[in-house]
């Protein structure tokens, strides 16, 4: 491909991506009719702020206005009329993102858009919020073949329907490893056709730049279903656990320039270099420990060292909850209650604290295709944050406030969940200012 066509192709893809998927407008703050509504301001003052993108800010303030982060820093002035939470001695970090789905926040049967079936009063939201999870992946269902169903990302914005939907569609399932030979053949043809179409688009743009008036190309039936992946660079979500499936999908991804995220990538660590070359993202669960199969000639199984091995190879890793259950049983309540514990297990396996925190915040958001909105404390992103009474990955820490889209949705002191147990929690001593 000539450099010029490559550049124009890149431009076309960038422009196309910019117009993909309208996110829903955030709910405006109510006010008197005719008058501009007063902004709703929330300030978290004086805590140790883990931004995830720019490191730790000690004794800093986070300010959110109308559901978005508007200021993060030390020595900020809190605007008048703001709701303030005193975070002295506490930690503030972005809300955790659960990159696997739990069926939370959806009413009744599916079929149709996730946005039409959201349930803002689902009482199953309380446990994940208490565990620090503020956004979750939702599978919209449908699509059984190679081209699977679309996925969405929702806020656990308890009580506010308008604040719940973050993005739909956010990604799309690609049923590659289990596809039959004929389906794979058809898929390759479709991808080829889509790639041809994108090339033609690039040529049209180049012709326009030269001042010509070319005919816009029409995508044929084969290409059309693949355009979101090839033209819009939509994330392809693939269920591939074994090394063989992972490699096969990587080959497809590289051949057609697909962005891939692997769900339940148990053996990803054993093919880490291959995944790094393909630029794939992996969802791993460090809690899963499976011994290597002695009958196989290669390494298999999974263990907590997996995220560190992947990191060393340069693969982006998101840590997901061990199971999709919402309950209070098991170790610290399995599943959604203990995502921080899963991240801590990754530290046991070799990640740094910062990398492990990023694996359940920004990299998880990236794996869902919403890292422009969630996953770190940066101005302009959604105001999803946690106030904890200790370091985020410390096993004794509790979430004291879970803030989603700028509103407090869970407050430990007001909730019945921990009412019968002791407060627990320990604060990391912070050095005196000036040190």
């Amino acid at each position: 491909m000539s450099r010029r066509v490559g550049f124009v192709l890149g431009l076309v893809i960038a422009l196309a991506s910019a117009s993909v998927g309208q996110d829903p407008a955030p709910a405006p703050a109510p006010g008197k009719p005719g008058e501009k509504p007063k902004p709703k301001v929330l300030a978290l003052v004086g805590g140790d702020v883990h931004t995830v993108s720019r490191g730790l800010l000690r004794r800093a303030t986070v300010i959110a206005t109308d559901g978005k982060l508007t200021a993060i820093g030390v020595g900020l002035t809190v605007p008048e009329g703001a709701e303030t939470i005193d975070c002295a001695g506490k930690h503030v970090c972005p809300g955790f993102v659960a990159a696997t789905s739990f069926g939370i926040g959806i009413a009744g049967g599916r079929g149709g858009k996730v946005g039409d079936s959201l349930d803002p009063f689902d009482s199953d939201m309380d446990l994940p919020l208490a565990g620090g999870i503020t956004a979750v992946h939702v599978s919209a269902g449908g699509g059984g073949g190679v081209i699977g169903g679309e996925t969405a990302v929702i806020h656990l914005a308890k009580g506010d329907l308008a604040d719940m939907l973050v993005r739909e569609p956010a990604a799309q399932y690609l049923g590659w490893p289990n596809a039959s030979a004929t389906d794979r053949q058809a898929a390759r043809e479709g991808l080829e056709a889509a790639r041809e179409h994108v090339k033609k688009l690039a040529e049209v743009e180049a012709a326009k730049a030269r001042g010509e008036k070319p005919q816009p190309p029409q995508p044929d039936g084969k290409a059309r279903p693949w355009l979101p992946f090839v033209q819009d660079r939509r994330l392809a979500r693939v269920r591939a656990s074994s090394a063989g499936d992972l490699i096969a999908t990587c080959e497809l991804a590289e051949a057609f320039g697909l962005r891939v995220v692997f769900e339940d990538a148990t053996e990803a660590w054993s093919v880490a270099d291959r995944l790094a070359r393909a630029g794939a993202l992996c969802l791993v669960s460090p809690r899963d420990v499976t011994p290597s199969d002695p009958d196989l000639a290669r390494d298999s199984g999974s263990h907590p060292r997996a995220p560190a091995i992947l990191r060393d190879a340069g693969v982006k890793v998101a840590v997901v909850p061990g199971d999709a259950g919402v309950d209070t049983g098991g170790i610290a309540g399995q599943g959604v209650q203990s995502l921080a514990v899963d991240a801590a297990l990754a530290v046991r396996g070799g990640l740094t604290d910062d990398e492990a925190l990023r694996a359940i915040t920004l990299d998880a958001a990236r794996a869902l295709g919403v890292d422009d909105r969630l996953g770190s404390l940066d101005v302009g992103k959604d105001a999803d944050c946690l106030v904890l009474d200790g370091a985020p990955l410390d096993y004794r820490s509790y979430v004291t406030h879970a803030i989603v889209a700028g509103k407090v949705r869970y407050e430990k002191a007001k909730h019945t969940l921990y009412g019968g147990t002791s407060a627990g929690g320990a604060s990391t001593p912070t050095p005196a200012p000036g040190k």
Binding site: A107, G108, G109, G111, G112, K113, D116, S117, L118, D119, P120, F121, D122, S123, D126, L127, G159, L161, A162, T416, L417, G419
Partner: protein, 447 residues
């Protein structure tokens, strides 16, 4: 319209002369050959009735102490402390007792059989409920559940003894609700309203949303059409007045009105909906559905629709939303628990505090549920629901929501005389029902 009734009368008379094909239905003594619109039943001229009680809970305007109720020809003609007693009146002395309106079963399918069941005459067996058992029966704005009404069943006797006087019949899926009196009478004679509300089922999904949007949009269009026709008619009539109008030639006579078609009937329902004369009764399966209903209704602000939402024990979570739109709620008479706790919750009290008008459903839609209804309401009052909200929610509020508040539901002059005489406060567990009077007749009496 007159022509239509004349035609119907003619047809009825001719039918009487036509050769019988099926065995004729068992003739009922007070049934007339020609169809009459639902009206008050014929009661033989009876003596006026005076009910005196230490306390009268009117159900709409509070409590009257030491007053009396005068009943003439099945209707309440006077209520108060200074009621003039006609010389020939029969007097019922309730003494220390309390008189309250007979209860209004807000939305029930008791005695209607599982959706779609119809009453048929079987020679040798009499009238039997056949069919049904699923699917909710036919549905659509034209369906009237009053078609399935069959009075005189054994359940009705037990309901009367429990103090229920009026049933708000609800269609199995969607259609028009009906209001019927539990007083003795014929099916036609006991129907109070055939078109009391339009029931629509709504859940959090795209199909429900587009269905409701279409219904409300169609209603708006039907109203516009009807108003346009009215204007055109008026313009024609004006042009027909002598001296006003273009030429000396006499205008043509207006064409005779044709009898209403099914489409006309449907349009009439839509027009009544758009004018706010017929309540749009939305049955939701969760509070989430109401959260999805809210933005949908934004598209119809400024229109005259009257809404009511019937839901379950989680409806209090959208109390603020309902109060903001002034939408009344129909809720079960039940307490709940706060999720993941052993804390008791009173969803009805929460809604009342938020300013939502409430109508109640019994704990279950069966005889046991109705017999326990008073006690269940008492538990809500004990847990913080204001007493008058409880009382109005089973009497006058359902009557208002179903458009029959001028006819039943409260102890006020002009309404049907549906009274329950109790030995004490209706919410006290020790209180018994002494007597139940429906349309002026004693239908239940303590031995």
């Amino acid at each position: 319209m007159r022509l239509a009734w004349l035609a119907a009368g003619l047809v009825a008379i001719l039918a009487g002369f036509a050769p019988a094909q099926d065995p004729p239905p068992v003739p009922k003594p007070d049934e007339k050959p020609a169809e009459k619109p639902a009206a008050a039943p014929e009661t033989a001229a009876k003596k006026p009735l005076l009910v005196k009680a230490a306390r009268i809970e009117t159900g709409s305007r509070g409590t009257i102490f030491g007053g009396a109720i005068l009943v003439t020809d099945g209707k309440i003609t006077a209520v108060g402390t200074d009621v003039k007693v006609p010389p020939n009146a029969e007097v019922i002395e309730a003494g220390d007792g309390v008189v309250m309106p007979a209860l209004f079963a807000t939305a029930t399918r008791i005695g209607l059989g599982g959706g779609g069941g119809r009453w048929v005459d079987i020679p040798g067996l009499g009238r039997v409920l056949m069919g049904g058992g699923g699917g909710g029966g036919p549905s659509g704005p034209h369906v009237q559940v009053a078609d399935d009404w069959e009075p005189g069943q054994a359940v009705h006797r037990r309901l009367r003894a429990a103090g229920i006087g009026v049933l708000g019949l609800q269609p199995g899926s969607s259609g028009q609700s009906g209001v019927v009196a539990l007083a003795p009478g014929t099916p036609a004679g006991t129907v109070v309203s055939r078109s009391a509300a339009l029931v629509v089922r709504f859940s959090a999904d795209a199909g429900s949303k587009s269905g409701l949007k279409q219904l409300l949009t169609d209603a708006g269009k039907a109203l516009e059409e009807a108003e346009k026709k009215e204007r055109e008619k008026k313009a024609e009539a004006k042009a027909a007045v002598p001296g006003v109008g273009p030429g000396p030639s006499p205008p043509p006579a207006p064409p005779p009105e044709a009898p209403p078609t099914a489409d006309d009937k449907r349009k009439a329902v839509l027009v009544a909906l758009a004018k706010g004369e017929l309540t749009c009764w939305i049955v939701v399966d969760s509070a989430a559905a109401v959260a999805h209903l809210d933005p949908l209704l934004d598209g119809f602000t400024g229109k005259k629709f009257r809404f009511a939402v019937q839901g379950g024990a989680d409806l209090h979570q959208v109390g603020a939303l309902l109060a903001k739109r002034k939408i009344p709620a129909i809720v079960p008479t039940a307490l709940a628990t706060v999720p993941m706790s052993t804390l008791l919750d009173n969803p009805a009290a929460t809604l009342a505090r938020a300013g939502v008008e409430l109508a109640f459903l019994p704990p279950n839609d069966d005889v046991n549920g109705f017999e326990a209804w008073r006690d269940a309401l008492a538990q809500l009052v004990r847990a913080g629901l204001p007493r008058d909200v409880a009382l109005r929610g089973c009497t006058s509020v359902p009557a208002t929501l179903l458009g029959v508040d001028k006819l039943v539901g409260a102890i006020e002059a002009g309404r049907e005389a549906n009274l329950v005489v109790c030995t004490g406060d209706p919410f006290e567990a020790t209180t018994r029902i002494r007597r139940v009077i429906l349309r002026g007749e004693t239908v239940h009496d303590e031995p």
